[in-house]
Subunit: 390 residues, 2 copies
Amino acid sequence: MSLGQEAAELDARDPLASKRAEFDLDPQVAYLDGNSLGAPPRSVARRLEEVVREQWARRLIRSWDEGWWDAPERIGDRIAPLVGSAPGQVVVGDSTSVNLFKLLVAATRLNPGRQEILVDGTTFPTDGYVADSAARLTGHVVRRVAPGEMPGAVSERTAFALVNHVDYRTGELHDLTGITEALHAAGALAVWDLCHSVGAVPVELDAAGVDLAVGCTYKFLNGGPGAPAFSYVPARWQEAFDQPLTGWAGHADPFAMDEGYAGRAGISRARAGTPDILSMLALDAALDVWGDVTVGQVRAKALALGEFFLRCLDELVPGVEVLTPRAPARRGNQVSVRWPGAREALAMLTAQDVICDFRQPEVLRFGLAALYTRYGDVLRAARVLSGWPG
Amino acid sequence: MSLGQEAAELDARDPLASKRAEFDLDPQVAYLDGNSLGAPPRSVARRLEEVVREQWARRLIRSWDEGWWDAPERIGDRIAPLVGSAPGQVVVGDSTSVNLFKLLVAATRLNPGRQEILVDGTTFPTDGYVADSAARLTGHVVRRVAPGEMPGAVSERTAFALVNHVDYRTGELHDLTGITEALHAAGALAVWDLCHSVGAVPVELDAAGVDLAVGCTYKFLNGGPGAPAFSYVPARWQEAFDQPLTGWAGHADPFAMDEGYAGRAGISRARAGTPDILSMLALDAALDVWGDVTVGQVRAKALALGEFFLRCLDELVPGVEVLTPRAPARRGNQVSVRWPGAREALAMLTAQDVICDFRQPEVLRFGLAALYTRYGDVLRAARVLSGWPG
């Protein structure tokens, strides 16, 4: 059976194949960049129109009491099952960088008397920048360590470690449970960045005893460009959780307009300013695609997509250097290859409607968003890379 | 001439009367809460549909290079003339609270060696909460002072003062130029919160030599619920501007993915994380209403609206306690009255389609957003308050 026949058969048998129709995607396009920007669920445009024309235009200020003010917690509770969290522990709002700052300063206060912060040295750089800035304000010292070396590096000096669940560049999936355990054994807290795993890889925050986590919603949750991020603060830490962005929306009684700040009970104290409703309700609509599908199903298909893509690459582009681990347990939700002249290759792929992306140095990334990616799409990507004439 | 005839005549002569048609507002509604949430310009729904269905759905990730990434600076440059700023000094993104945190920590670094922060004691409380949090991290001491007393309170110990241009509760307009001068005379910096003045009152940041400012876009700029706020950092401070939310979007070369943070030149270093595009481009569309109108025209009408409303109150609700200064030079863009049983009054007003709001203790606020508020609207509000049967 040819790869083309095989792709057609895999797509025909795919139990998630019908989900693609819930996204507004050109059938001609192989969209392999969901690891950077998820595709738009059709529900988003409809919902935005309703929010503007009905809620904002007709109900005006009253909409704040009719579902807007509590949207951060309500939408957080929709994300919670996707990351293995009980309700009341996830809240949506602000960018990932801003959420990181909240959590990292709070983490220093949850584990006082320890001066060191370990940061995933392979991480998406914003994590390191924000850790450096938090450390400068709190008097901590940041040390960069590869995730696999964290268990050996953590010590009684370590307040917490910030680790990426999936490496943004190589797509390697790190051992959330094992690294968390090792950090805890040394009395350090575990703060996880789920940007590249939420909505793609099963995440069990409660079960693993993760202390704090942050995640992004514009990749595999399809919330839209720059959609609000989320913070996870488990119930056991909420009372002691003391974050620095003390805007009125996290206050115990925001409309009392008290002079002093007192954080609201529960996850709400991770809120900062007025929630950004248009983006937030776009995300809310985007989450509707999860109504009849589990992360487990998505993961199963994504692994199969990755497996097939790797075979296509092996066959059509022999000798290509794959940066992503081949073992399914160590693979996140993308396949990255080193490709000399990656910028030019990206232009060639784009010209043939294969949309992926490029990261320094010379890395092409192919995201495997299982809700809308077809086996035929990854085959096309491999064919274009092989010089196949389109 | 009766008040009713007078209102009709004022509306008929109003040079801004046609602007109301640019907003999606029910003709029956007297919307007097633009000081809390501006009304939706009709352009917003259209733009959001285009952003989702064309830019996001069709161009996908490529849209980041086609106007998304630079939107914070581009939209900042549209706001700049509304606050008396040269281009390249205003950037949009994040909530007001988050922007305040950036600016206040940065202000301590721009004026080192001084341990005191003065905060407007009458301010919207988020300003004080954020100042307290920033001071806790930087080792400063916060002192709360009424804006009018700042010139007497500032000293060689003061790093900066954070002052509200308009008091959110009473609507009093403070003397931005005079207070800034007094702060500068003592070697302190002046940080202004423009939330209740931008889009309503002429603001001359460059001319007054203001050091830093923050403002909100969901009130008189009609950007939508929780729309992104903005920061102003004048050119003379940009090189030294050193803010704590060091997300990748403020980096000199964000896609180099360098390990260390280096802020981009210019206003961009006030950016933090990935910009929230849906909300940001909704704001962009909302700013179109300023194409053929100046803040001066808006201010002239708003003062006339306020004058007429005060006369209506005096005549129809004699003895009502008006909290807003009557002198035009000291009035912001709202009229506040003390009203025992304000909550019940609010319900009665709302039932008659007069939408305003309520703040503790027993204050009714009537916003005078001149782009869509009619003289007949403020007369209706006074009539309902007078017990007039609707």
